[in-house]
Each structure stands twice: as C-alpha cells, then as structure tokens.
C-alpha cells in the first residue's frame, strides 16, 4: 500500500516531533514539526521509492503539507 510506504518514509526522514502513527492523513505536517531541511530528505526518499521526479510546479509547501497531499502528488506522477 502506498500510504504505508509514505508513512514509513515520513517516519524515517521527517524528523517530526509527533510520531507518524499519531497523525491522520490530513494532519498538518508542518505543525507536526516538518522543517524545510527535513523536506529535502523526504522528497529525495519519495522520488527514490516511487521512481518519480517531482516537477518544479509541484515543488512547494502545499505538496508536503499532509500525508494526503503527498499521496495525491505520488498518484498523479505514477500515472
């Protein structure tokens, strides 16, 4: 399941102050402690895992705002 993989990557790279297991898919990741530097690691791991390249027009704060927004972008690029 993509969502489990995304949660696993987030746990490894996100350096969040809240455990990923406690987050809903629509919880705000920035409020959970996601920094811009951690976003870099998250982005690289997502691209690696799903074999995608997130284009500039999707590389913004909103893409990494929640587990759901990440899932949406992954789904869009996997098509």
């Amino acid at each position: 399941m993509v969502v489990e993989k995304v949660r696993e990557i987030l746990e490894k790279t996100g350096r969040l102050s809240t455990p990923v297991a406690d987050l809903q898919n629509d919880s705000d990741l920035y409020n959970a402690g996601l920094t811009s530097l951690a976003t870099v690691g998250l982005m690289l791991a997502l691209e690696d895992e799903f074999d995608i390249e997130i284009p500039d027009n999707l590389l913004g704060r909103k893409t990494f705002a929640s587990i759901q927004s990440i899932l949406d972008v992954v789904a869009q690029l996997k098509k």
């Binding site: 102050s17 705000d28 920035y30 409020n31 959970a32 402690g33 811009s36 530097l37 976003t39 870099v40 982005m43 690289l44 390249e53 284009p55 500039d56 027009n57 999707l58 590389l59 913004g60 704060r61 909103k62």
Partner: protein, 396 residues
C-alpha cells in the same frame, strides 16, 4: 487568496501621480531628510505630504476608495520616494506591505473590506510586529499566542523592533493561533491603537533608517476575533508578505542607490566644468557604477513584473512553489548587497566631499541606510533558506 485586480491606473494618470511624488520629494522630503536622520525623528511633514496625495490607500482597490495602483506602480512610488528620504520611503513601503496582506487575503471578508475602506478614507498608518524577543528574525515562528475569550481575544507580544510603532494607527501582529498551537501555526492579527498599549522596551538609536523610529515595545492588545485575517499566516507570508516586502524594499533601496549615482554624476560634471582637462578617472568610475545601477534596477523591475503577472492570473500554485520563493530571496540578497556597492562606488567618486556631512555631495546617510538592507531579515538567514530550497529546485 483573493483575485487582486492588477490593472492599475492608466499610464498617463500614473505619470501624473509620479510627478506629484517627485514634487513632494523635492519640496518636502529632501529638505527634511538631514534633520530626520540627525534627530532620529518621525518624518511627520513627509508623511503628511504623502497623505495629501491619498497615497496611504495607493494599493487599495478604487471600489473601496483607494487609488487602485498595481504592484509595479506601487514599487515605482517607493523607488521615487527613496530618492529623497530613505526613512520616509521605508515607512511608506512597510505600510503598503501590511495593506497588501489585508487586500490579498481579506477582500472577500466584510470586516476587512470595511477596514480597508477606513484605511483609505482616514489615511490610517499600518505598522508591523513580526519580530519577537526570543526568536529573532524567523518570521515563521511565534511565542506569543491569541488568547480567545468568546468573540474577543487578548494578545501580548514582546516586540524588539516595531517601526513607527508610536505613530501607527494599527498594528499587524503575528502570533500562534492559540496557546496550544505549535510555534509555526500562526495567524496575522490586526489591532487598532484604541485597543493596544505600548510599553517601550528599547530605543532606536541606530546607524541608519533612523527616521523609521523602530523602537521596541511590549504590546498589550485586545480585539474581536474577526480582526484575525482569515488565511493562515503561512499563506499570507508566501503569497503576499514575502514577495511584497522584498519588491518594495528593493524598490526604495534602488531609489537610494539612484540618488547616490545622481550625486556622483553631478560631482563629475562639476569637476569637468572646473577643470576640463581633469583625468577621466572619476568619469570611468561613474560609467562603472552606472552599469551596476542598471543591473539592480532591471532585477527589481523584473521581479515586480513577474509577481504582478502571477497575481493578475491569480496563480496561487506558482506563488506557493519553492522556485518562486528562491527568486524573491535572490532579489533580496542581490538588491541589499548592490545598494552598498553602488553607494560605496559613488562615495569613491565624490571623494572627501561625499565623506563630509555638510556638502551637497554628502553620502553619509545613504551609506548608513544601505547597511540596514542586509539586516532586515538577515541575508545569511535568507541564504540558508535558499541553500535548502535549491535542493528542491530542478533548475531554470
């Protein structure tokens, strides 16, 4: 974000307005600039002249009683003011940054529509309290929080720098959404002087921008919950405050740099008149600094036009990308560095006449103001952001 009509006013009308701005610059701002700087006093006569042109509502749509300028026209006004008095231009720019936040994120909201109408009709002066004691220049974190009590709230913030805090009519304050919110879950709150007290905590005796009177205060405020701008501050910052600040600041710094080069040009002309056989050295330096000024100008104008285009398309996706943030950060870094470079080069041309405080070629104020540019949001902080964001940028 609301669709902000970027049609602006006709170029004929705008040129007329710009001529009036230059007129008050020559007649009011320039004659007082030295006194404002020496005494670190609020440029009251300059701000009154600006109000007489209805410029406090320059960026407010005409339907609400404003002048309806677009962002490039507003930037040109800041650039013009910067040529006469850096502090007055800075006060004007900072006011307009707050206006832009309210216009872009409050226009569909009845309370903010009425508020902006009042700002335009009464020429209210808006100040900003983002910087907080204990946090420094990181705009995306707050310690203070909105304390809600039914429909109303109280908010106390320890703000080490609030430009023209004493003279302002309203304060735009960043704070955590409530006392349980993490540091980066922020809102932008507008409080009016009838509803706040300012306890002075720090004086403003600085190297430059002395007339901005950017003293420190403990702000104790209250208000109605509707005075909180509906959008999260994160959106207000990335879509409005960040681009508008660096475009308007860059524009007034460009104005200061332009005035320095104009003085250098006048100096060289004077020198040639006195001694037509003088060596070309100063003229060569003038040619050099003039090319740097053009670089700065094209960069500032180009970024303003780019932002205007995105606003007119209501292209929120593009405004939210890292690549747009990188571009705006680059504008800040380059314009705040170029202003120092340009004023220093102009000083070399004017020589001791520029170094003196009592000649018409004195560049002391320009140079001292120039050094503030890289500190208002520290360039190293911005450079660090770009170092991170560039990992997430595919290239141009």
């Amino acid at each position: 974000m609301e669709q902000h009509n970027q049609a602006g006013i006709s170029s004929a009308k705008f040129e007329e307005l710009l001529a009036s701005v230059h007129k008050i610059g020559e007649e009011v701002l320039r004659p007082n600039a030295k006194d404002v700087d020496e005494k670190a006093r609020f440029p009251q006569e300059g701000m009154d002249a600006i109000k007489s042109l209805k410029l406090m509502g320059a960026y407010i749509p005409t339907e609400l009683g404003g002048l309806g300028l677009n962002i490039t026209q507003l930037a040109r006004v800041c650039e013009a003011l910067g040529q006469y008095c850096g502090s007055t231009a800075m006060i004007f720019a900072m006011h307009q940054i707050q206006v832009a936040c309210a216009v872009n994120h409050g226009l569909s909201n009845e309370h903010f529509k009425n508020y902006l109408t009042k700002v335009a009709s009464d020429s209210r002066l808006l100040a900003s309290a983002t910087t907080e004691m204990g946090i420094g220049g990181d705009l995306r974190q707050s310690i203070c929080a909105v304390e809600q009590n039914g429909d109303s709230f109280t908010l106390t913030k320890n703000a080490p720098v609030i430009s023209y805090g004493k003279q302002a009519d309203d304060l735009f304050v960043t704070a955590r959404r409530n006392s349980d919110s993490p540091a980066n879950d922020q809102v932008h709150v507008v409080v009016s002087k009838e509803d706040y007290e300012l306890e002075p905590s720090m004086a403003w005796d600085t190297m430059g921008f002395r007339g901005t009177c950017s003293e420190g205060f403990l702000v104790k405020s209250k208000g109605h919950m509707k005075q909180i701008i509906p959008a999260p501050f994160a959106d207000i910052l990335s879509q409005s405050m960040h681009p508008t600040s660096h475009i308007l600041w860059g524009s007034l710094w460009l104005g200061i740099a332009t005035d320095a080069v104009n003085m250098a040009r006048a100096f060289v002309r004077d020198m040639m008149k006195k001694n037509p056989n003088a060596p070309q050295t100063a003229a060569l330096r003038l040619a050099e600094v003039h090319s740097v000024l053009q670089l700065m100008r094209e960069n500032v104008h180009g970024c303003a036009e780019h932002y205007q285009k995105l606003l007119s398309e209501n292209n929120v996706e593009a405004l939210d990308t890292f690549s747009f943030s990188i571009k705006i950060n680059n504008l800040k870094i380059s314009s705040s560095s170029l202003i120092i470079d340009i004023v220093s080069k102009s000083l070399l041309i004017c020589g001791i006449a520029g170094y003196r405080n009592d000649t018409k070629y004195s560049l002391s104020r320009h140079l001292r103001d120039a050094y503030g540019a890289s500190l208002m949001v520290n360039n190293d902080r911005i450079m660090n952001h770009n170092a991170t964001l560039l990992h997430m940028h595919r290239g141009d």
